[in-house]
């Protein structure tokens, strides 16, 4: 059974190939069957593999297929490595992925690029599975780039709008910056250990590198560069909100549930390296904390329903990074999983809302939708509760674990914890601001007939609702993976701390209610001062990061490209030509055409020669 693991990415890959090769000539039901079915098959297989693996009691299992390339000591293969971590990831990818595929068969029903959409989606799932199952970093890199490509293709899916293309390219290029750093990290690791097999690398690193030395720090930093790019963390977070230009199922699958968490997976996968570099590890925590706070502020100022969710995704991944940074590996992975559930739910719910509102995404043009769109309302409610870590929803458990791990850290732990709690407070505010504005209050103009789509859209929502509610009780089997790394599995928190963590999000929800639900407090009053206005503008623009990067990188690059479009080197050769031409002109001028002039020059030559003869 376990040896069939190579089939997992193969099914979606075959789906992709069959859809591409028929290039839109198949009828829609067949496309849907291939598109969703291939991922479904993978999920079924993944479930069976999971049961077999858990039943076997092994810590890991390696399936080797064939050697990719063999150059000297560099011999990465198409080998799959299954352990608790990749097991969780593959189940999330295939499971949530399958649900989103099913949902998309309804969502994309009227789109002319139906077949194209599913081919990209299938390719994405295949690449993502490669990423999490590969046993060496090169294979991981294959999946890593593959998902980036699919992300690019799907963000720019509606290609006629130039801004979509811009968003897609921005996503690809910004993540590529991270990817390049990661690639350099790979070169460094290979140069030192002569292998890129992850497990071999980790063992070798533990033996050869001392904790706190420079080399592991540099290696970890380079890999971290890749992780922050993919996971939209500071300083490479700017692409994710723009990536919402793609169809909503994409946002759910790629930009919430799976691809953006690849960075978390990478760090968890190479956690040994990060433990060897404690400075970098704590940097991970700080990156997570700052990102989650910044994204929290920004989310409060957004008006686009998908952008709010996008910033909340950035913020939640910030929590995961915080968890990774404080060494709560399994808590982060746990949060990754629950986040996949409730964020997919929220995105799919928002997709239903957007379709029902005829592609209106501004929340202030919606309102009182709870009666008209009951299923969307239910999914939003449950998703929002989980997101704000309402007690006993899935998000509560996972976030709790991360924050408890943070406070137990010596030194800066308290501050990390405090930041995380403040972040949770903002989460409460922005999430329920969205809820109250969209589903309560009065309708603001737009007509809406009710839920769009049939069972294929509602059933995935319901399944995700259940998962978001009870996902916190799932036990993820990752102990063996992080066994030596995790110092504290059981958290003994004081009642006070526990109480604060439960209360803070609720206060946030309360404030949101006061502003947007009951309207006891007025946003206009708050916004009266110019400071508030500027602050709002600043946060709304995502802390001016786009502005900054435009000026730091984009504009100089464009400027350099523009002034040098003609290639200064080529112009140098042009100059050589011009000089020669000028010289020729000068010599040509001596060719007057007058015979006597020639005779005179002959005579002059004669005189000169004789002079030479006389002198020498």
């Amino acid at each position: 059974m376990l040896d069939l693991i190579w089939l997992l990415p193969t099914f979606p890959l075959l789906g992709f190939l069959s859809l591409v090769l028929t290039s839109g000539r198949l009828p829609k039901p067949i496309v849907a069957a291939i598109g969703a079915g291939s991922v479904g098959l993978s999920f079924a297989l993944a479930a069976m593999i999971a049961m077999t693996f858990l039943g076997s009691g092994e810590d890991y299992y390696i399936v080797e297929t064939f050697t990719w390339m063999s150059v000297g000591s560099f011999t990465p293969g198409f080998s799959f490595y299954l352990d608790g971590l990749s097991l969780v990831m593959m189940l999330v990818i295939t499971g949530v992925g399958f649900l989103i595929h099913v949902y998309a068969t309804g969502y994309m029903d009227e789109d002319p690029g139906y077949s194209r959409f599913f081919s990209y989606m299938n390719l994405f799932v295949a690449a993502m599975l490669m990423l999490v199952l590969g046993d060496n970093l090169v294979l991981l890199y294959l999946g890593w780039e593959g998902v980036g490509l699919c992300s690019y293709l799907l963000i720019g899916f509606w290609y006629t709008k130039p801004e979509n293309g811009y968003a897609a390219r921005k996503a690809f290029v910004v993540t590529r910056v991270g990817d390049t750093s990661m690639a350099i990290g790979l070169f460094l690791l290979f140069a030192h250990f002569g292998t890129l097999n992850i497990q071999d690398l980790m063992h070798a690193a533990e033996i050869e590198w001392a904790t706190g030395t420079n080399l592991p720090a540099i290696a970890a930093l380079l890999l971290l560069g890749g992780a922050v790019g993919k996971s939209a963390q500071l300083p490479l977070q700017t692409w994710l909100p723009d990536a919402m230009a793609g169809p909503t199922p994409i946002s759910a699958l790629i930009h919430a549930a799976t691809m953006v968490t690849a960075g978390v997976y990478l760090i968890a996968r190479t956690h040994v390296l990060f433990e060897l570099a404690p400075d970098v590890q704590i940097l991970v925590a700080w990156i997570g904390l700052i990102t989650l706070l910044m994204a929290g502020f920004t989310a409060m100022t957004q008006t686009d329903i998908k952008r709010i969710l996008a910033f909340s995704t950035v913020s939640q991944i910030g929590y995961m990074f915080l968890g990774l940074g404080v060494g709560a590996w399994s808590a982060s992975i746990f949060h990754l999983m629950t986040h996949a559930f409730f964020k997919a739910l929220l995105f799919l719910g928002s997709g239903s809302v957007i379709l029902a509102m005829h592609h209106e995404q501004d929340i202030f043009k919606m309102g009182a939708l709870r009666k008209v769109l009951p299923i969307s309302f239910a999914s939003f409610m449950i998703g929002s509760l989980a997101l704000t870590a309402f007690p006993f929803t899935s998000g509560f458990f996972s976030k709790d674990e991360i924050l408890l791990a943070a406070i137990e850290l010596e030194g800066v732990g308290f501050w990390l914890w405090l930041g995380g709690v403040v972040g949770a407070f903002f989460t409460g505010i922005y999430t329920f601001r969205l809820m109250f504005v969209v589903f309560f209050g009065e309708n603001r103009g737009h007509h809406c007939e009710g839920e769009y789509g049939g069972w294929n859209m509602s059933v995935p929502l319901m399944i995700l609702m259940v998962l978001s509610l009870v996902g916190g009780f799932i036990h993820i089997p990752v102990e063996a993976v992080f066994s030596h790394g995790e110092a504290h599995e059981e958290h003994h928190a004081s009642l006070l701390i526990e109480g604060i963590m439960i209360a803070v999000p609720l206060i946030g929800i309360g404030i949101a209610y006061l502003f947007y639900g009951s309207k006891t407090l007025s946003v206009e009053n708050l916004m009266a001062s110019s400071l508030a206005k500027n602050l709002h503008k600043f946060w709304n623009s995502g802390w001016g990061m786009d502005w900054l990067y435009d000026r730091l990188f984009v504009f100089p690059f464009m400027w350099l490209a523009r002034i040098n479009a003609k290639d200064i080197v080529d112009q140098f050769y042009g100059l050589v030509v011009e000089i020669n031409r000028a010289a020729h002109q000068m010599i040509v001028r001596s060719q007057t055409g007058y015979l006597r002039w020639y005779a005179l020059s002959v005579a002059t030559g004669l005189v000169l020669i004789i002079t030479l003869g006389v002198l020498l």
């Binding site: 006629t160 070169f187 523009r562």
Partner: protein, 500 residues
């Protein structure tokens, strides 16, 4: 003997194609196709025979014995890979010219086949005089291809191509002669034989100068900054088939020359020169990627990306270790296919809408979906997507280069980012966005035909093969490269000691 047949067949096929034009104007292309196909089949028979690392086939006959010049051809794994690429892309080039070249078709195919013959000669010659002979043979027909069947500025482009390659070729000739002279001084007889010349010893100063003669000639062909500027003009003006041959094969002769001649003949000087060469490579990668981004002419853009990608080859060659060399070879092969395909796409577009200006294009996806997918595939290949051949080449080259020079590798790796910037920009400008036909005549804008799909399909399969199972290619060149590595190992050690 088989090697002579390979080359002679191409020469003869060229003459036959030329003459056959009088019978029927459509005959030359069929004759050319048949010739190259036959050549490819003969090459394939070489695949099975002989071990890698040995000479699979060789032929040595006396030519001008007074000066020790012999007609010495030989093929090992590396050469075989490259002549296979030559024949494959030759077929593709004939395919791309099939409908495009109608004027003086006979002479066109004559030039095409003679260029191919010259290239095969370059890849197989082991006598330096003979090598130089073939080096010139491939230039002149290429000059005609650009100058006769080119576009609006063809004379300028052809002349520029010719002057650049000819002047630097002369430097190489001088170096070859100096090399032969030194052999005469040391061994008492003239010889242009590669194996004899490997044993010539120099003072380090002389070695550097002689090596530079070779390096400049090869770097021009490659091309490398700062002697790359003939390429954008030649490419943008050449007919599609010319661009395919130029980008796919001719550039590779420069890289081959570096691997086969420049470094093994002058190991110490090359090792000493390596940091400079690698710096040039890094500059090529970044600078040309940046210039490419600024181009409006789609063919110029692709031409600059070629320079950028060939930078990885230089980087790999001068890192001179197994991964880096294999990376260089894989980049040569993969870039041969991907650049040729991109030029064919650009040529196909120009053939259909009579413009190469990208600002005029846009939104072609809906009009020509097959072409869009093909273009996307090759753009993505060019930006180094894992799973396709270019990735293997560039990754291996960088992986190897990192072991030789960390900082230059890090700088070069930024080329990966720039590659994504310009590749996606092309796709955006041409295929995405709003369709607007006011700036060109779109009456002939049709999707790829069955025949075109056949060619592109073959190249796509090639790239996926290289990307997913590169071992079949790596194995072929492994023997040659490890032989070269071990032969130069002493010099490398010596230089490393001096450096410390």
């Amino acid at each position: 003997m088989i090697l002579v047949i390979l080359i002679a067949l191409l020469f003869a096929g060229g003459v036959l194609a030329w003459m056959s034009e009088r019978v029927n104007p459509n005959l030359p292309r069929s004759i050319a196709l048949a010739t190259v196909l036959l050549d490819l089949l003969i090459m394939l028979t070489l695949l099975g025979s002989g071990d890698s690392g040995q000479w699979i086939a060789s032929l040595e006959a006396s030519w001008i014995p007074r000066f020790g010049i012999s007609f010495y051809l030989a093929v090992d794994g590396l050469s075989l890979l490259l002549i296979l690429l030559t024949a494959f892309l030759g077929i593709i080039a004939i395919g791309s010219a099939w409908d495009e070249i109608t004027e003086r078709a006979g002479f066109f195919y004559f030039n095409l086949l003679w260029t191919l013959a010259g290239v095969v000669g370059v890849f197989t010659a082991l006598d330096l005089f003979l090598f130089f002979f073939f080096w010139e043979v491939m230039l002149i027909p290429m000059y005609f291809i650009i100058a006769i069947w080119g576009h609006e500025n063809k004379n300028y482009a052809a002349m520029k191509f010719f002057i650049f390659t000819q002047v630097t070729g002369m430097l190489m000739l001088v170096s070859i002669l100096v090399l032969a002279y030194f052999h005469y001084v040391q061994a008492g007889v003239f010889s242009f034989n590669y194996h004899d010349l490997l044993n010539v010893s120099f003072t380090s100063r002389v070695e550097m100068w002689v090596m530079l003669g070779f390096f400049i000639a090869f770097a021009t062909k490659l091309p490398s900054v700062p002697i790359h500027s003939w390429l954008p003009d030649a490419h943008s003006q050449a007919p599609t088939a010319g661009s395919v041959i130029l980008a796919g094969i001719l550039l590779k002769t420069g890289a081959y020359g570096l691997i086969r001649f420049a470094v093994p003949l002058f190991p110490a000087a090359s090792m000493e020169f390596a940091p400079i060469a690698m710096t040039l490579a890094a500059i090529s990668i970044l600078y040309c990627a940046k210039v490419a981004f600024a181009q409006h002419d789609i063919k110029r853009l692709i031409a600059y990306t070629s320079v950028s990608h060939m930078g990885f080859v230089t980087l790999g060659v001068y890192a001179w270790n197994e991964q880096a060399l294999q990376g260089a070879v894989m980049t040569m092969l993969a870039h041969g296919l991907s650049a040729a395909a991109l030029f064919m796409l650009a040529g196909g577009l120009q053939h259909r809408i009579h413009t190469r200006s990208m600002p005029d294009m846009g939104g072609f996806w809906a009009k020509v979906p097959r072409m869009a997918i093909v273009a996307l595939f090759f753009s993505v290949a060019a930006l180094g997507m894992p799973g396709l051949g270019n990735f293997i080449g560039e990754f291996l080259a960088l992986l190897g280069a990192f072991q030789a020079n960390i900082w230059l590798t890090v700088v070069s790796a930024f080329g990966l980012i720039f590659a994504s910037v310009y590749s996606l920009w092309v796709i955006q400008k041409v295929f995405q966005g709003e369709y607007n036909s006011s700036k060109f005549d779109d009456s002939h804008l049709s999707d790829l035909s069955r025949r075109e799909m056949l060619y592109f399909g073959a190249m796509m399969i090639g790239l996926v093969w290289m990307g997913m199972y590169p071992q079949s290619f790596l194995d072929l060149s492994a023997g040659t490269l490890s032989g070269l590595l071990s032969a130069t190992a002493d010099a490398a050690v010596a230089v490393a000691e001096v450096a410390q």
